[in-house]
């Protein structure tokens, strides 16, 4: 009999391993949650309370959700409005269903490291009804009370947005909000033309930004080269733009709203373009690896896999090998 661990998700035999995205690998022998970033991790807030930075509020809308950011200082609020632009509003259209994100002040002495030590990775920890996270000069938590609510404590006023604290928090909040609402945040590039959208997913280095540039250069619209929201609807799988971009950046994105997904592909660089179907299990495994922030949460595993199964059942996943030229578009265009 052959070995039981298959090699059919694109990696060498006998082990098929795909590193999950974004969440920093957590070695069992490594430091406990928060010890890299917090001076007193055992004093991590047990509930959402604290001293607000100010009285400013900004509502951010995307992918059918509203996020009410409360307690911002004027400097923080201006920076959030500058960063998220047209997605911002002063009031929520449906406050009952919006996610509230409280921004609280924390002392600089709560955190380890100065400006020169800045890093974007952060720790995540999980409980049945909560997710905790700690990063450089911030800590936060999500609680289901039972509705999702979020809080972030930071010592940064002027740099809260510039140093991506706010965006990192919003990415985590958005991932869980989408999962609660029947969608999935996928580490992916989404490119659209007159026939619909192509969603390419894979870990960092797979080619998401490259294929986004290729698509953009040929007149296709780019939703994001980093993170997109996918939902299964009665009309098929839809992809919605999220305000998070990778190397391709925000300036190059030229599409808004949602698009029907025509192809959902893992991505691999190669010499010649190739498109192959993926069997169910390797497809789900590959999707799992690209569902950041939620894919290592033991309390959300079943819900996430169920969503990914529905996604894969509605739109079979393919494996695209592409070269840095435009032949892949012809292949995708002629593929049924």
């Amino acid at each position: 009999m052959p070995g039981i661990i298959l090699a059919n998700c694109g990696l060498p035999a006998p082990l098929c391993r795909a590193t999950l995205s974004f969440d920093a690998p957590m070695d069992p022998d490594s430091m406990a949650f928060g010890e890299t970033f917090l001076t007193q991790p055992d004093l991590f807030p047990a509930r959402q309370s604290g001293e607000q930075w100010g009285r400013e509020r900004v509502v951010i809308r995307f992918a059918g959700n509203e996020f009410i950011c409360e307690g911002l200082s004027p400097i923080q609020a201006d920076a959030v409005r500058a960063r998220f632009g047209d997605l911002c509003a002063d009031e929520a259209a449906e406050p009952q269903s919006a996610v509230v994100l409280h921004v609280y002040r924390a002392a600089a002495t709560d955190f380890i490291g100065g400006e020169d030590d800045w890093e974007y990775a952060f720790d995540l920890d999980y409980a049945p009804t909560a997710v905790m996270f700690a990063g450089f000069h911030f800590m936060g938590r999500l609680d289901w009370l039972p509705q999702l609510q979020a809080a972030v404590w930071t010592s940064e006023d002027r740099l809260m947005v510039a140093n991506a604290i706010f965006e990192n928090v919003l990415r985590v909040v958005a991932a869980y909000r989408l999962l609660d609402g029947g969608g999935v945040l996928l580490h992916s590039a989404a490119v659209a033309d007159d026939r619909g959208a192509y969603v390419f997913f894979g870990p960092s280095g797979a080619g998401k930004s490259t294929i986004s540039r290729l698509g953009h250069a040929t007149g296709r619209a780019v939703l994001s080269d980093d993170m997109n929201a996918l939902r299964v609807t009665p009309d098929g799988v839809m992809v919605e733009q999220l305000p998070f971009a990778g190397d391709f950046g925000h300036a190059g994105t030229s599409a808004t709203g949602s698009y029907p997904v025509r192809n959902l592909c893992t991505l691999e660089k190669g010499l010649d373009p190739q498109l192959k179907p993926l069997a169910s299990a390797p497809a789900i495994a590959a999707l799992l690896g690209c569902a950041p922030f939620v894919n290592r949460n033991p309390y959300r595993f079943d819900a996430l896999v169920a969503k990914l199964e529905a996604l894969s059942a509605s739109l079979p996943v393919q494996a695209l090998t592409f070269a840095p030229d435009n032949r892949c578009w012809e292949l995708l265009r002629h593929e049924q």
């Binding site: 039981i4 298959l6 006998p14 169910s280 495994a285 896999v305």
Partner: protein, 97 residues
Amino acid sequence: MNSERIAPTAVFRKCSDTRHRNIGGEGIVVRQRASEVLVVTELGARILDLLDGSTPVSGLVSALVTEYDVDRATLEGDTAGYLRELLDAGIIEPVAA
């Protein structure tokens, strides 16, 4: 790979950070702490289903021999090999006697 023999009386369980699901005749296994996702065959998924932390290897073989058209001696050898593979991948761990 560790070549230490797996005894018929040995008992294994899934590691606490292991989650698995059977999908389309195969299985997916996530090692959440190590940030790994693996795909295993139907038999690998079945072995994971059978691992309850108390059934010895011989009990696993007894269950599998009723499900697969393989003689017991062959299945004993294969199951030991498969358990070794799962051990080496950090998916299962021995239960202390």
